[in-house]
């Protein structure tokens, strides 16, 4: 029993009781963004790559899922699959181009490509342009379970989230994850040990994009909507915020970060534009005062107090 096992149990219990305590759609939204942030963290926290174009994967997977469901009339599991595979393919293209550069240039290439995707989403006829795709049916999962029922939908979303999170958790704690950490810590040394670091970075990028896509496709099912909001660069910024706030490079941090940001946006809605200011202030305080993020600081406190995690 270590800290991570406890974290998993808490997560599972919270996931099971949350829809009975809080508005289920809000929890589903949090779960989608949590998965998105965790996927992003795989890249930033464990590979040391700052992508500023992750909205492209979230958003385009949403459109692909919507089109599969609405345009082709297929089932929700195929919608998710289409979104995930599509985002992975897009991730391969982004990754192949971006990993040739490091640091700010890497971020700028991902941003530029994401803007390209935004433009395409605006122009393509099937995306509905400014209006987005609306009234996407949730359909029947495997032809059996009616997802228009909120609770059915909730537990499906929870299952998808837990699956995605498990994949990320495993990837971090795998032989592959070890190499990623080595690259993050000291790239020239990893090269001198014989690793073709670009290939590792590319696989990490594709994995991250695919899981961000899974999050986006799931979100489309929940809200029965795919819109430009999810491909806009604001979204790429928001996921950076969620990850940093919760704790970059920690397993559970992005979940906490996503919960804070989404809850703020939800409960702070009556504040109107002020919620943006509030989020901004929290971000600045986070960066200045507790740079490791919520989970990072808590982990440090536990470590300092001498309890073995």
């Amino acid at each position: 029993m270590n800290g991570k096992h406890i974290g998993w149990i808490v997560l599972l219990l919270l996931g099971l009781v949350a829809p009975f305590l809080v508005y289920p759609v809000l929890v589903m939204k949090i779960l989608c963004f949590a998965l998105f942030a965790c996927a992003f963290n795989l890249l930033l926290g464990y590979t040391g790559l700052l992508s500023f174009g992750h909205a492209a994967f979230l958003g385009s997977a949403g459109y692909l899922c919507g089109y599969t469901m609405q345009g082709l009339g297929l089932s929700p599991e195929l919608g998710l699959l289409a979104g995930t595979v599509g985002a992975a393919a897009l991730g391969f293209i982004f990754g192949s181009l971006a990993i040739r550069r490091a640091g700010i240039y890497f971020a700028m290439i991902t941003l530029a490509l994401a803007q390209l995707v935004y433009f395409l989403a605006l122009q393509f006829p099937f995306t509905g342009g400014e209006d987005g795709m609306q009234g996407i049916p949730r359909g029947h999962l495997f032809g059996l379970i009616d997802l228009s029922d909120t609770m059915n939908m909730y537990f499906f979303v929870l299952a998808v989230f837990l699956f995605g999170f498990w994949v990320i958790d495993r990837a971090i704690d795998s032989p592959f994850g070890q190499v990623l950490k080595a690259i993050r810590e000291n790239e020239p040394r990893a090269i001198s040990l014989g690793y073709d670091v670009d290939r590792y970075k590319l696989l990490a990028f594709v994995l991250s994009a695919a899981l961000a896509g899974l999050a986006g496709a799931t979100k489309t099912l929940v809200f029965q909507l795919a819109s430009l909001t999810d491909v806009h660069w604001h979204m790429s910024g928001e996921v950076v915020l969620m990850t940093l706030l919760g704790g970059v490079g920690t397993v559970f941090g992005p979940i906490v970060g996503a919960t804070i940001v989404v809850s703020l946006q939800n409960y702070g809605a009556e504040l109107g534009q002020w919620v943006t200011v509030l989020t901004g202030v929290i971000f600045v305080v986070c960066v200045l005062a507790f740079r490791r993020g919520v989970v990072g600081e808590v982990a440090l406190l536990i470590k300092r107090s001498g309890i073995r995690p």
Binding site: G177, V179, R189, S192, L193, G194
Partner: protein
């Protein structure tokens, strides 16, 4: 008479926008020896290392390793051939444990390094070998320490253990004793001598005490070109070397 050279360069040259950092260097490293590359600051020693391991691309010239032309190969390929380098500043993975540092080097041979679905516990089979390597550099008791917390000299020792994990035929050590206290210098020098027993070492070193103590052949670089070459007694008696080193010698 033919001598067995593990590494040979022919007219190795690197120019940066008109500035010649390395000028037609013909280096011949004999198998099984410890070969030192010395010279005043800015003589191009580290640049030569970067060229040999393709961290920089030569402007002209060729590099032969075991008779094979490796000039067009990428850094990671050269490393996989058995030419493994260290760096001037200590090259460890600071936030991994000491054991994990060595394991990173060992795990590539398992062929599972792309397996993101497999548990890292599958790497535990390497722990035995990793511990042996740590033992060889007196770091066994530090195995679970987070590397960033090691003293500097110990980090350099860990770096050597990690390099050894790859069973390199040729080790390139870039100033292995730089920035060390007196006792550490002696310990690392002995360590190099010990691990060089059945391999070849090419090292950049400022500390002439270390060089005279453990190196078989010395090449002196000055302004990117070879000034003198030979055993320590010959090189240290060379008038041109003395002149180049006056006032700039560190050791």
């Amino acid at each position: 008479m033919s001598t067995d050279y593990i590494l040979q360069t022919r007219d190795l040259t690197k120019e940066f926008k008109g500035f010649v950092a390395v000028d037609k260097v013909n280096l011949q490293v004999q198998r099984g020896t410890i070969h030192a590359l010395i010279g005043p600051n800015g003589a191009g020693k580290t640049t030569v290392f970067n060229l040999l391991t393709k961290f920089l691309t030569p402007t002209r010239g060729t590099i032969h390793f075991n008779g094979i032309d490796i000039t067009p190969e990428r850094s990671a390929q050269i490393a996989r051939r058995g030419v493994v380098r260290s760096f001037q500043i200590s090259a460890v993975f600071p936030h991994l444990s000491v054991l994990e540092n060595v394991r990173i080097a060992l795990q590539r041979k398992l062929g599972t390094s792309f397996h993101f679905w497999r548990s890292a516990k599958s790497l535990d089979v390497l722990n035995g070998r990793a511990m042996e390597l740590l033992e060889a550099v007196d770091l066994r008791s530090f195995a679970d320490t987070v590397t960033v917390e090691l003293p500097y000299g110990r980090k350099r020792a860990l770096e050597i253990a990690t390099t050894l994990a790859l069973e390199p035929e040729l080790m390139l050590l870039d100033e292995p004793t730089q920035g060390m206290g007196h006792e550490d210098v002696g310990r690392v020098a002995d360590l190099i001598k010990r691990v060089a027993a059945n391999r070849t070492v090419l090292m950049v070193e400022h500390n002439l005490g270390v060089v005279s103590h453990i190196c078989d052949t010395i090449t002196v670089l000055q302004r990117g070109a070879v000034l003198a070459e030979g055993p320590y007694e010959v090189v240290s008696a060379d008038a041109r070397v003395l002149e180049a080193y006056m006032g700039t010698a560190h050791g």
